[in-house]
Amino acid sequence: MTRLLPRLVLSAALAAASAAPALAAKDLVIGVEANMPHLDPANTNDTLSQTAERLMYQGLMGFDKDMKLIPALAEKYEASEDAKEFVFHLRRGVKFHDGTPFNAAAVKTNIDRVANPDNRLSRRSLVSMIAHTDVVDEYTVKFVLSSPFGAFVNNMAHPGTFMISPKALAEYGKDIATHPTGTGPYKFVSFATDTLKVVKNPDYWRPGVPKVDTVTFRAVPESGSRFAMLQTGEAQFIYPLPAELVKAAQANPNLAVINAPSIVARYVAMNNMKKPFDDIRVRQALNYAIDKNAYGRIVFSGYSTPMDAPIPSDLGFYSKQGVWPYDPAKAKALLAEAGYPNGFETELWGGTSTAVKRGMEFIQQQLAAVGVKVTVAPLEAGVATAKLWNVQSPADATMQMNYGGWSSSTGDADWGLRPLLYSKSFPPNLFNIAYYSSPVTDRAIEAGLATADPAKRAVAYKEAQAQVWKDAPWIFLGVDRLLAGQSKKLSGVYYLPDGGVLTEDAALD
């Protein structure tokens, strides 16, 4: 206690001193939903931190505004036929913010850091398949994998493999999280409690950008307050914009609404190993029982598209299966056939946010119409991890139904299917909380990973999706629309399908 107090007072005084706001012509303020934990890309997992990291950092590969893979710090790459060797040719003349040159040695330092288990970085799984990284010459680097991994290039676009200045890494060690030093379009200025400020990098390798002087991220958790901030001009861009406020934003002549497709799928996972959901007819019946169009209209004010495959259409290797029809009569018939003519009682879990509870309530109403009596139980975040993800064996799982969402952070079908629907992905390994297990799906998922050949991967993922759709381990609901509000003066800010935002080309009138 004795040593705590003076430190408290001192740091509080510092915080107060740095709180003075400044507004000039080209200052972009972005209102976001939550506080960013910190800014070490190899150790953060939320889309928001990753978006903030993209201001300052880049990887060998990157995404364009349509989330297509594009070269970033690498100019091109070659992959071996067996998906075990990948050679990247680096962009020349790029410097980190501290002046350190970017080269193959820097790439090796970064990848080795993430891969080293002693560093205990939470994104290690992105590079754990690498046997060794070789510096071929100043601007060429080669990754040799221990097993084939067809989605490897996507991993090199993931924030977990962003390139950090080797000099800064040596200097700050673990504190790199509060001293971001990358190659990106903006340089770090300050990061205090809920505000991140960056300033333009005049030496950025892409000519003509950035076009704004500073970018500030401010965490405003309450959506009504965030929208108010956009209306008053305190922010020029806010996301996410709740679907129910789109109408209000459209009514304001100074504001524009960004309405883009996402890769966030919403579904109800049913416990496929437990009664009554172990019967495929029950699972099919519940899919027939829900009006997916009404779901989008009621729960997302129309800003949601019905799911027509186990993965969203903007994910690589998506294969359309057609929307599951709404047919309550057929649902009742299937339930009767399965031995539940009067329905049954069950529990539906989900999160505690207003929008999630709205979705759960809708499902409750729809299932009630076919005789299934649902108790809605919103779980606090910590409780959900214990009850869903940390279950040690399928027999211990207490979940009956869970309403949730998933977005594949690599933009690839593999991460949209394997963590959720592969029989080796039961918790606590990964997130197959439906305990869905099908030999056909398993084989197809493995085949998709075993090659880097897009044609072969497409065949494999098509088979996996068809099988999953047939087995109906989930109630397939909808794919979110991405909604953001922005000032009409702003251009060049792109909302990516995974929920991230690109600010590199931002410009203010």
Binding site: L4, S11, P21, S122, S128, A219, T385, N429
Partner: protein
């Protein structure tokens, strides 16, 4: 007096130790795995295991407890699981915003509460009393998040007079301190009124009045001064409550304070931050209680003898 003080101060030590043990066990009883939460929504089992070791949550509970107590006694609070920053830094950065907001809210609530309380007390049973009390009590009857959102809608969006939120110059303080202070103002107005009325009935006030002391003197000198004593105690208590930070007000106005830190760290199961915050609250509370007791002892020597 000095003996009393020392005894009380020494008495707070076991309370703080009890709180520290209690909170250590308490946070670990909450269902939820910090490693899983910190590792994030799509971390693999190996990622989670790495985070668990990094957070020092891998050993047996007793070993964790010994490590925690050792650190706490040396005045080290550890690092936040979520941000990896020292906990003292995390709490320090949010202490001032909460403190200043508390001061602003208390200042106007006290001014308003005293004014309404005295007017109602003096004009007891008349329309000023009724109007004042209904107005004050209205303040405590509003769900505060609704009040906050309505204030933002009116003063920021429609009128454009004040910012919608965030920590900054004085304009940023107006709306959150009104929202936060509304309840306190009501409590103080009510309390002042009854203290005032109570004192008015005391013999010395009656005597003063009977002696022909002018009414204004009776009100200001005899009644108010004595009525103020319990009001001061009440103010201290309310101050203590507000110092914990209001989750609702800090969320609505995106205020970087202790209340939001608490709810963030609870939903992340950020044990070191929760533990340190609760220790801080307990310390604040114990100190304020002590000050209140000392004030009581000054006013009423009977208590001291006990």
């Amino acid at each position: 007096m000095l003996v009393f003080l020392i005894r009380r101060l020494v008495g707070t030590v076991p309370v703080l130790v009890a709180v520290s043990i209690f909170v250590f066990g308490f946070v670990r009883l909450l269902p939820g795995d910090p490693a899983r939460l910190v590792a994030g929504p799509d971390a693999t089992a190996q990622d989670v295991a790495a985070v668990r070791i990094e957070l020092g949550l891998d050993g047996p509970l007793l070993q964790q407890y010994v490590r925690y107590m050792g650190q706490t006694l040396r005045g080290e609070l550890g690092r936040s699981a979520k941000t990896r920053q020292p906990v003292a830094h995390e709490i320090g950065a949010r202490f001032m915003p909460t403190l200043w907001l508390t001061v602003a809210a208390m200042a106007w609530a006290l001014a308003f509460g005293l004014l309404v309380g005295v007017i109602s007390g003096v004009r007891r049973g008349r329309w000023q009393d009724h109007a004042g009390m209904v107005m004050a009590i209205s303040g405590i009857s509003f769900p505060s998040f609704w009040l906050g959102l309505l204030l933002i809608d009116l003063f920021s969006v429609r009128l454009g007079w004040l910012p919608t939120g965030g920590y900054g110059d004085w304009t940023h303080f107006v709306l959150p301190s009104i929202t936060l202070g509304a309840g306190v103002a009501a409590v103080l107005a009510r309390f002042t009124r009854s203290a005032f009325v109570e004192v008015s009935a005391e013999d010395y006030v009656r005597t003063a009045r009977a002696k022909g002391v002018p009414e204004r003197m009776v009100v200001w000198k005899h009644t108010l001064r004595n009525a103020l004593i319990p009001v001061v105690t009440m103010t201290g208590l309310q101050f203590g409550f507000l110092l914990g930070g209001s989750i609702v007000v800090e969320t609505v106005f995106s205020w970087p304070g202790l209340g939001r830190l608490l709810i963030d760290s609870v939903s992340f199961r950020d044990y070191p931050v929760i533990q340190a915050e609760i220790l801080l609250f307990s310390l604040e509370f114990v100190l304020i209680n002590l000050i209140v007791d000392v004030l009581y002892a000054f006013v009423n020597p009977e208590i001291r003898l006990k």
